[in-house]
Amino acid sequence: MVVSAFDIILCLTLVWLAWHVLTSQDLFKAVVLFISFGLLMALSWVRLQAPDVALAEAAIGSGLTGALFLSALRRMTSHRRGERRLDCDEVREDEGQ
């Protein structure tokens, strides 16, 4: 029963995280949420008794992909208008609504 509760909460958190990755207005926040998403995916691989996949996901899903996204985010927002901070760009423009 405890195991089922663990499953259900993990799965609900995964879907909730995916939703927030796609709807949060701040792109940096979305990337950080995606890193956490990869981490929880690794937990669910462990639960499904796929340690091979969990190893790969632990290395790639949360580490490498997160670093790739952070680097790309910096490149896509850095030299747009002088030296603005990373996530101000998207936030300020979206917050008008």
Binding site: L22, P51, A56, L64, A67, S71, D94, G96
Partner: protein, 252 residues
Amino acid sequence: MRCVKMKGSEASGKRRHISLLSLLSLVMLAGLSAALAWAFLTPGPDPLGLAHRVDAALAESGVESRVTAVLLNYRAYDTLLECFVLFLGVAIVWSLQPSRPVRQEPRVDPVLSSLVRLLVPLMVLVGGYLLWAGSSQAGGAFQAGAILGAAGVLLILTSSRLLSTMPKGLLAWGICLGLFFFLAVAVGAVALGGNFLEYRRSSATMIIIALEVVAAFSIGLSLAVFFGGSRPEEPSERTAAGRPPHGEGEEP
């Protein structure tokens, strides 16, 4: 979804248009999820899966780990094509990004540099362990390659000139090495009278271990190069360092 909304008054007409569109797509997505859930929950014929067949042939595969046996023996085509995908990805990334002069990075913090100095040898060690363990338990070329790639990313992060000072030919050969070695093994099997990618039982263990080592090296190098982004500079281009990054100053 919120992220389709736009700011500004002139966007209000467009916003209505977009909300209609997003409503339509929401309906379609709801229909799709209902259909998928129905297909998933409807009890079909119970699939037997391939576990029994994998177990039956495990003694002939040359390794004890079932996943490694599937990856590098039964379905070695997958891994071969994956090496090709990595090669293709590096080619695309290098051709998309013109080699850019390295920007002035912030000074490397002493804490960071000592952390990297501690972590990178540990990562290489764990990568080697996973590679070695891969033949009998979880682990193998992919996981080891991923960890080696992460170590490479750490090195690139602390010294951004690392990739640009490496000889480009060597880097390219290192990335292609996995693909070429795989192809050599496959063609060699044909030359020896077998099928494409078919190993003899007696030499299967050695071949798989060699393939794993080479594939892990190539995968790690490719992942690090992915993170490095742009193609390393040619020596002739390095004289042009100091020009502004591509695209800057074109803002209307």
